[in-house]
Symmetry: none
Subunit: 260 residues, 2 copies
DNA sequence: TCGAATTTGTGCGTATGTATC
DNA sequence: GGATACATACGCACAAATTCG
């Protein structure tokens, strides 16, 4: 009865939902350049007409493309193809050249741009996860230092570093950004207290941005972030660990590895 | 008139949309353990009643949680809280132990679980991006092999490999998964045609899942994926490049690097 | 074994708020 | 101000999968 009453028709194409088909065709037009960056997609009403689908399907299709980061909806204006900027590379290879002494350069390693950073240190009890990484008992005191890196004034990277105070306490390098070796790298600072850093482990993952991170880096909560959990070891013992957080759509981490 | 006719009410709480509020409350219940893994969320109808919202809002709220990977919808059954397993580690260090000879183990490197994979190869013209990575001219013929890896039957990893046919064509290792060295690693296969792989570059990034990937790995479009773009070099010349794609919430890539 | 009820997933039409042009 | 377009929201219909008596 009901379909007679309303005259609604649902045609099954057997394969995939209509909104995925529409999204696919639009994606095609974007990736093959027919819809270059900054151009406007057909409006919801146009999609409805051109593809012969309903408003809902047109909306869902746009949502898929937005979720994929291909397009960006601007309320009242349109849906626009996003520029896909060449991502910055964070280059890692274990050793560091003499020119790369600062924390920023160590992580940035991009010679062409100059960055500045702010840092703030405080002492706190180690949270279980951090204690685990530093292989100390949870609740031990650690020096936490938070960094905000900027490139051309724009904040692009967050970093939080933890060092066990049992190691650095009452030494000249207790505060990473102060003293004679202030602002130098972990390797140099640890060398000053006879800790020879010989190994480095980095865990790369990704997760949605925390609200705080989104605020600091000027994005929306939920934006994908790359997280590098890095730990420096001296003779098998962790001497420092840090989380480096960058927007996933603007960064890549590259590793150069010898084979054999 | 209209709102009087229908009795529809749209109350603006000024802050955030209703579907985000509902999603937030459900997320709260999940993260604080009130809704532990494997339990069922209230059905769409229940959400509608309990939160006093419409069907659409309840649906959108569920979609948000699904996009975040917190829950998983099973058609006809319910929406279930996902287990949040400790992320699998993909361990990388450049060299490979003799036991890690297969592609899967090379990428998986998780001794505790056993995986199987399917592969399909075809020949095609190199797309510009791939040609760039292989340092060949765009349009050159390449052998493309696509892998789907499963752990305990569940698909968890996608990988696409490209090799220049100018290198492997008319050799016994032209097809990665066939012939005497079929299924062996890139290093072994290249050695068979006198290409000594000595370097490996990996670029780790993250991006939202393409619809196709989401389908293959059982997620929703937009879910964050880790992408490892890996290139093998023999004497400075690229001999193979591949994209490895895994869900970001279930994997970490770990690199062990010597210092100095 | 069968069938009814439930639930998700997809889809339709419409209304309204609000940002942009 | 008016037109356009996106974002959110309401209500409903139906297919497919699942569950359960």
């Amino acid at each position: 009865m009901s379909w007679l009453d309303t005259g609604r028709i649902q045609v099954s194409f057997g394969e995939q939902p209509a909104y995925l088909r529409v999204a696919g065709e639009l994606r095609q037009q974007i990736t093959n350049g027919f819809l270059p960056p900054h151009t406007r997609l057909p409006s919801q009403a146009r999609i409805r007409e051109e593809f012969g689908v309903s408003d809902t399907v047109a909306l869902e299709a746009r949502k898929v493309l937005m979720a994929e980061g291909l397009v960006e909806g601007r309320s009242g204006s349109g849906t626009y193809v996003r520029e896909h900027p060449a991502p910055r590379r964070i280059r890692r290879s274990g050793y560091r050249s003499p020119g790369e002494r600062t924390v920023f350069r160590q992580e940035q390693s991009d010679d062409t741009v100059k960055g500045v950073w702010e840092a703030r240190s405080d002492q706190r009890d180690a949270a279980p996860g951090i204690a685990d990484r530093l292989r100390i008992t949870a609740g031990s005191r650690v020096m936490r230092t938070r960094y905000l890196f900027r490139v051309e004034g724009e904040p692009v990277m967050l970093s939080t570093s933890w060092e066990p105070l049992a190691l650095t306490g009452r030494s000249p390098v207790m505060l990473p950004e102060e003293g004679p070796l202030g602002g130098q790298g972990v390797v140099e600072r640890m060398a000053a207290i006879d800790q020879v850093v010989d190994n480095l482990v980095e865990e790369v993952g990704a997760r949605p941005a925390l609200a705080e991170e989104a605020t600091a880096l000027g994005g929306v909560p939920g934006r994908a972030m790359l997280v590098i959990a890095r730990t420096h070891y001296a003779g098998g013992r962790p001497v420092e660990t840090a989380d480096v957080v960058v927007p996933a759509d603007r960064f890549r981490v590259t590793y150069h590895l010898p084979v054999r």
